[in-house]
Amino acid sequence: MTAPGSDAIVVDRVSKSFPMVTGAFNWIRHLGRPPRQTALHDVSLTVASGELFALLGPNGAGKTTLLKLLATLSIPDRGRIFIDGVDTARDSQQAKRRIGLCTSEERSFYFRLTARANLEFFGSLVGLQGKTLRRRIREVVELVDLRASLDQRFESYSSGMRQRLTVARAILADPDVLLLDEPTRAVDPIHAEAIRVLIRDELVNRQRKTVVLATNLLEEAWRLCDRVAIINSGRIVALGAPTLLEQSAQAIRRFDVMLDALDDDLLARTQSVRGFQGLQIAHERLGVKLTVALRVTDSSLADLMRALTANGSVLRDFRPVESQPVDVFKDVVQVKSDG
């Protein structure tokens, strides 16, 4: 893959591993080559210019690792990364000029300095000076609703305010590409929604920024982003527009089943149905409720019905469950990572 002009970000077969042990003693014990744990396996993706792209996955899936690689804070074992056509390995300075990073680490400011002094400092390091810097600070704090507290020390900020200040810092230099690591983490619902509106309406729709958003919040990714990459165990297990992912996951459906009783025999029959994906059991007042996930084929539904009603079992209710983003996420993460 080469670096095309229209793609703001190109990740080409990138793998990344980390040493499993640290410290000088372990380093010597392993003769300078400690065992490493792979965090990303051969990941490839592109993000178009002006696209809002989500990295979604459970904790430890590799989202932040990928984000740090994009921000040049980490170096891949293999593969290449291009930001606006710039190879990050060859010219990280030029790549960094195009990037604004919003970390999920709320400590990343000087606690004893005011928010204004912090923004002045970080703004200077991205090349802003004088009037331009002061104007940008006014603009960005307005966008994240921190104007009134700009001259308070950072240590007096709440977690939510700190997170909003990291968003302000990321957009301060007006970069073309924004890397946002859980930007609404610890933010109250009203300001979280305001940040989402800022990202979607102002930064992407109006200013045509390219945004990569790493998040654990399924609804946020689903509702906000043009495309979603679901990462699990260092691999991209699904990638596409939320609607397409839902369609592809339609093959796996869930059914709520109400039975009089559940015995081992019935359980074994249900689990042996072709296309069976998973099962949840809840004991309720009227009987036992099963939620069965099934990869639907021509015969699987009929097989399930037969399994549920064999040997005189009484089936009280049977209804399909409407697919939710969380179901799509669960299916994709479980099924494809197992595969």
Binding site: A39, S74, T103, S108, F121, L125
Partner: protein
Amino acid sequence: MVERRELPIGGRLNAFFDTLGKAWAIFVRDARLEVAYPASFWLQWLNILVSVTLSFFLARLFGSSAKFGFHGAASYFFFLTVNLAFVRFQQTALMSFARGIRDAQTAGTLEVLLATPTRLPIIVLSAGLWAFGFTALQTVVYLAVAVLFGLDLQHANIAAAAVFLFLTVTSLSTLGVMAAAAVMTFKQVGPLDFMMSGATNLFGGVYFPLSILPAPLQAVGWTLPITHALSGLRGALHGASLAQLAPEAMWLSVATILLLPVSLVIFTRAVRRAKIDGTLGQY
């Protein structure tokens, strides 16, 4: 769009101003952080008075000796005061670079700093601007207080002292940058601090002239930049000319020329290693 200085368009002049702007930002940050801790800030000044007073009374135990001066006899008060005033530059080199990295690791600002388009040498070397400037100011005050206690600086060669001050800062900065690289790798500042302070006090000729040590230990002292820095500064403040101090000046100049690029390469490699191992933000 925000106007930013793009390096290729403006050429070298713009790159120079870009660098100056970033160095100034780091200087202002450090100055603000210094005064943000008022108790620590004011205690440093009080400490100067305590140190000079201590030296004054300690010096009463000894008479003047040729060993304490450059040409001719000088008092132990002169020897000790000048040494204690200027040995602070070595502590500053460690504090500003190694502790600067350590503080950035613990504060969580290191990754954000390194994600900006600011070159590593600017980030690490600019961390010494405020610290060395502030230490220079404290040193002037230190000597001024010492003059009130009877320190004789009538024959001081100010120009030679200024040259040695510059050489002291540059040569010790190289050690500071290497210490910062060690902190980047090992996440600890304590052992380095101890080793460098211990070696300085024992072999650097801070509390006693190096000439009273056995020859092998004098050789160890000769390898330390602080030995030559203090020797040159004592000589300049005792009235020696630059020509007379040429060997010391040459030693510090050569050490700086050799060690500055080496220290920056070591630091750059330490950062690269941290990026490979994913330990940049760890502490």
